[in-house]
């Protein structure tokens, strides 16, 4: 019965059905992608909230003191997050100081200077570096890089940079090889592939006519990249730097190997320290009292907050930059 009727439908009816179907599909599609986006938000909030909940015992016991107490004593059951927070921020900062310029150099070279036959293999090699598991970086760090730092770099720094005013205290210490400087450098090497592959990708999106025009009016390669390519791709480049920064803040295994895992607060970058992720990885399985476990989960929550604040500050600086750029042009 149905099919003969359908055959008799007028073109207007057909179009109406098509519109209804399209509207329905549109609605379904809208809901589907909304669910995808909300899923991220929910899992983010869920993770943050469950860590806040797990850490409530630590927060209620120690209060605000938890944030700035350098104590970490499982015997006296007295915990504070200052040392891990400090170590996390310092190592990530060192990593960024190393990784951002080097990544910029790699991307610059690959998009502007390298001969075409070289670009694809080097780009592939950089991306391969990103795929190396962090434990490999940790083992390389411990067995190759730590002895090198301990025998050559740390004694030199202690002797030549240590006596200097202002920055001197940062580089005084025993030549152990383990420590925040070593961890920062290893982290820097780890995040270079992330940042540089994003940079290279977006540098390639700059329209050729923009660059050609700049070259035509007599700009050097450096001027073209600094004044044309970088402003054009600024937000994507900063996005890539965020990606690297996020990885540096949360990296666990490689840092555990080379940081020294000592709950000591020291100004010197040659001294061992601790980071939030390394502390959790080291101590979680053996946390034998409720307050100990809760303090570790609270640390996880603080890593959330620290990452959030760092990214918020970076965003703020980005918006200021955009504002300034707007005024100049």
């Amino acid at each position: 019965m149905a099919s003969p009727q359908a055959l008799e439908l007028s073109p207007v009816d057909l179009q109406g059905r098509r519109e209804r179907r399209d509207r329905l599909l549109d609605t379904v599609f809208r809901y589907a992608v909304t669910v995808c986006a909300v899923f991220v938000l929910i899992s983010l909030l869920g993770a943050a909230f469950s860590m806040l909940w797990g850490g409530r015992l630590a927060f209620s016991t120690f209060g605000w003191r938890f944030l700035w107490s350098p104590e970490w004593d499982a015997v006296q059951k007295n915990f504070g997050a200052l040392v891990p927070i400090y170590g996390t921020l310092v190592t990530a900062l060192i990593a960024m100081i190393i990784a951002v310029p080097v990544s910029f150099g790699i991307a610059f070279f690959l998009t502007e200077i390298a001969p075409p036959w070289m670009r694809a293999p080097v780009a592939a090699a950089v991306e391969l570096l990103a795929g190396i598991p962090s434990i490999i970086y940790g083992m390389w760090g411990l067995f190759v890089f730590v002895p090198f730092m301990g025998e050559h770099v740390a004694p030199w720094l202690d002797e030549h940079v240590g006596p200097l005013p202002l920055i001197g205290p940062l580089f005084q210490g025993p030549p152990i090889g383990l420590g925040m400087l070593t961890a920062g450098i290893v982290l820097g090497i780890m995040v270079i592939p992330f940042i540089s592959s994003v940079m290279r990708e977006v540098f390639n999106t700059v329209p050729v006519h923009l660059k050609e025009s700049a070259y035509a009016v007599g700009n050097t390669t450096w001027e073209v990249v600094w004044d044309i390519v970088l402003p054009y791709t600024r937000s994507a480049v900063i996005g890539g730097v965020f990606l690297g920064l996020g990885r540096a803040l949360g990296e666990t295994m490689a840092v555990t190997f080379v940081l020294g895992n000592a709950h000591q607060l020291s100004l010197s970058l040659l001294e061992p320290g601790n980071s939030i992720a390394a502390t959790i990885a080291n101590e979680f399985t053996e946390a034998d009292s409720a307050i100990y476990l809760s303090s570790l989960i609270a640390l996880g929550f603080l890593l959330f907050i620290v990452t959030f604040i760092v990214l918020a500050i970076a965003r703020f600086m980005l918006s200021r930059l955009a504002l300034r750029a707007g005024k100049i042009t």
Binding site: Q76, V146, P174, I176, N282, E283, T285
Partner: protein, 343 residues
């Protein structure tokens, strides 16, 4: 009969055979689950392999650390937990658990000092405590030089290497330091993880061993097996009997024999700083914890059968891996406690 039919029949036969085999092994094999101490892991996996060959029963042991083992058995997710730190009798009582020792080993100090060979350096307990407190900071300190005449000690800073994770090895080490140094007892205390006054932390025995090998002028503590496997320079320590003892199976055994195991309920004994001639001062016992009234009685019975076999017949496996078997009288006492306590 064509070739293809023949092949088909053959493959069916093989599949059927495999399925039967599989069913038989699933039907009879018991799976005993345990978790805890990393120290005992090499021995438990060897025991498990030998036991599996003999009986077809399998022990699935996860070496997540002593603290983790205690947490898992309290959560009843495993049939037994293993720990290098004994639980106090009242804590066992509250959780409805019993514990018994299964094997004995030892913690040894290891050093990385230019020119020092294994067994060459000597320490006393108070000196070790002062080094780990950071009050003795150089290798040529008068205290170390005083008991090591003839050993050339460099003017080098001592780097202390300790565990970064909680550990039964740490528990026995700091328990010993607390017994011999009142400073250590009041300033740091004892536990599976403590607030270290000095040094760097390595994860696991292997982490400490790796750091000591890497860092010149360092001192750490590991189980004997790790020291010998990595060819590290271990040191002699003065015991309660005022003699310097080299870390070896003989010294661990001497320490174990000094202890009256039935003095306290649940074999609660920490055998560090043991008296008697030849006793190694930092010997450690691995304890196993099980439920008195297990939820799954059959599994508990299977586990007891495994430990009975291990204590009675698995001792050659233990010796081949540098562990010390329990004295025969103690094995009898343990078996009596099973009969009495585990239902």
């Amino acid at each position: 009969m064509s070739l293809s039919v023949l092949l088909k029949n053959a493959s069916q036969g093989i599949t059927l055979g495999c399925a039967t085999l599989l069913m038989v092994s699933v039907g009879h094999a018991a799976e005993i689950t345990g978790a805890g101490s990393t120290f005992v892991y090499p021995l438990l996996s060897k025991w498990s392999a030998t036991y599996n060959e003999k009986t077809g029963n399998r022990v699935n042991y996860q070496s997540i650390g002593s603290g983790g083992g205690i947490a898992q058995i309290k959560a009843a997710t495993v049939t037994f937990g293993a720990s290098d730190m004994p639980l106090k009798p009242d804590e066992l009582q509250a959780a409805g658990l019993v514990q018994f020792p299964v094997v004995i080993g030892g913690v040894v100090p290891v050093v990385n000092v230019e020119g020092i060979k294994p067994g060459e350096l000597k320490f006393t307990g108070p000196i070790l405590a002062d080094i780990f407190l950071g009050t003795i900071a150089k290798w040529n300190d008068a205290a170390i030089a005083g008991i090591n005449p003839g050993v050339k000690l460099p003017d080098q800073k001592i780097t202390v290497v300790h565990r970064s994770d909680g550990s039964g090895t740490t528990f026995n080490w700091v328990n010993y330091l607390s017994k011999v140094s009142s400073d250590w007892k009041t300033k740091v205390g004892e536990g599976t993880s403590v607030s270290w006054p000095a040094g760097v932390g390595g994860k696991g025995n292997e982490g400490v061993a790796a750091y000591v090998n890497q860092i010149k002028g360092s001192i750490g503590y590991v189980e004997l097996a790790y020291a010998t496997a990595n060819k590290m320079a271990y040191a002699a320590v003065k015991n309660k009997n005022n003699e310097f003892v080299q870390p070896a199976a003989k010294g661990f055994q001497a320490a174990a024999e000094q202890v009256n195991w039935t003095e306290q309920p649940d074999f609660y004994q920490i055998i560090t700083d043991a008296p008697g001639a030849g006793s190694w001062p930092i010997a450690a016992t691995v304890f196993v914890m099980m439920y008195k009234e297990p939820k799954d009685a059959q599994r508990s019975k299977d586990a007891i059968a495994f430990f009975k076999w291990a204590l009675e017949e698995g001792q050659s496996d233990a010796q081949s891996l540098d562990y010390i078997p329990l004295p025969g009288t103690l094995v009898k006492q343990i078996e009596a406690s099973w009969a009495k306590n585990i239902h």
